[in-house]
Symmetry: C2
Subunit: 243 residues, 2 copies
DNA sequence: TTAAGTATACTTGTATACAAGTATTATAAC
DNA sequence: GTTATAATACTTGTATACAAGTATACTTAA
């Protein structure tokens, strides 16, 4: 049987999380992984039954997912939007916009502590790779970019990031899990990109930053295909399970 | 007695709105108007009692306000953040970022319909001024910018806008109400700016767009002082009421 | 008077109940 | 067979109840 798991979202990231958050995280993963196809109409009652919780946390979860633009709350039922190639490109438009803005601020402040912090995270990423831990690697990858954004102390940029983060995280998780199996070599390049990014921040080299930013994103664009692979794999797994 | 109203948020904008939305809109107005001071700790039960609703819609409202960054949900109680000068500048950072991005897309597409739509909204704004309707003017002002953003069909830019919009709207409402009384002349300049903006979109003149964008924002920066006036006025009103 | 423990009055998160509204289906009339 | 009407099985939004946790205040012992 193909590898299938009860829950796609790492359960150890959910300690101290409310039932609403759990439902939101898991639904998000299933939607982005394509297990729940776009166009599907979600019913509060059905989800509540599926997850063995009451409607209260489910309502909360649906509100969260609606604010992330992966479902649309209508008068009756929530319609799944999901992530198409278009949405993924749009997310990277936003990331590029934010991170460019952030860099413009970074060149004007002391980045010593930030560079230290980023180096630490990069080391963590290396360890995660050595131990084949795709989830941990994804976590550190997301944390890397969040740390940069937090450094400029801009609450509304952080707000945008917080809105984008859950979807990003799910997307990265899914694609990294595939790549750890299929394209292990990719990670040397990913690490180099991040090293370059740190270098750009350290030297406040705008050109280098733009270069590494785009390399990072071009690389990530490649991830889209891994999301499709992920969706296909998971779809097969579900089929076999239904036999 | 100074002019005080039971609700700051226009009630006619709340037809068909849920109790949760009503509470969110009103709390938002009170926070931004400074009636509820930053640092205040909000209690679900107390708010529920104040608005004569149950905790369910209040919880919903607090979640919304938290996602807008004007309150912070903590383990016990929600702490009011509010809008300081810093936050207002940050909001305009984001708007500048978004609208610049949007314009870059607009120059590449047919904007005929958009220009028509914007002209219509501008006419509406003029009518609102003639009839001294600050709320209607604010509504059209917000709609003007939303219409521009919607034109490029970018769901994640729209997502950011949707996150920003409620706070913007409240802020504009409060400052326009003051300006309608104190600085009626301002509006000819505001209208000119919007006309310039339309012109920039029509001719796809990047330089003109940047100019009108900045004029608009510089003008809006001036609004900050009107927010303080608004806060002072309302504070006085409350004091007198408490006598 | 101070320190530690205990009671109490809050808090949040979840479950459940219910009213009001909306699609869908079945039934009746033509 | 088609259309209009009524019954039904859903839906959402709100109220309420309760369990579990947390801060505050109050006791009690030193």
């Amino acid at each position: 049987m193909a590898e299938t798991r009860e829950f796609l979202y790492p359960s150890k990231w959910l300690t101290r999380a409310s039932a609403g958050d759990r439902v939101a995280c898991e639904l998000r993963m299933r939607i982005i992984a394509g297990i729940i196809e776009s166009g599907t109409i979600l019913s509060e009652n059905k989800i509540a039954a599926d997850f063995s919780v009451s409607r209260s946390p489910v309502r909360e979860a649906l509100k969260i997912l609606a604010s992330e633009n992966i479902i649309r709350l209508e008068r009756m039922g929530a319609v799944v939007i999901g992530l198409t190639e278009k949405e993924i490109e749009e997310i990277y438009d936003v990331r590029l916009l934010i991170e460019s803005f952030v860099f413009e601020r970074l060149v004007r402040i002391d980045t010593h502590d930030l560079v230290m912090e980023l180096s630490k995270i990069l080391e963590m990423m290396k360890v995660a790779i050595r131990y084949g831990d795709a989830d941990e690697f994804s976590y550190q990858d997301v944390l890397f970019h969040e740390t940069i954004i937090r450094a400029i102390n801009h609450s509304y940029m952080l707000m945008i990031w917080n809105n984008l983060k859950p979807v990003m995280e799910s997307f990265i998780l899914l694609s990294m899990r595939i790549r750890f199996k299929e394209k292990y070599d990719d990670f040397t390049r990913i690490l180099e990109n991040h090293q370059l990014y740190i270098e750009a921040i350290k030297t406040k080299d705008r050109a280098l930053m733009i270069k590494s930013l785009h390399q990072n994103f071009d690389d990530v664009q490649g991830k889209v295909e891994y999301l499709w692979m992920s969706q296909q794999l998971l779809a097969k797994g579900v089929e076999q399970e239904n036999d």
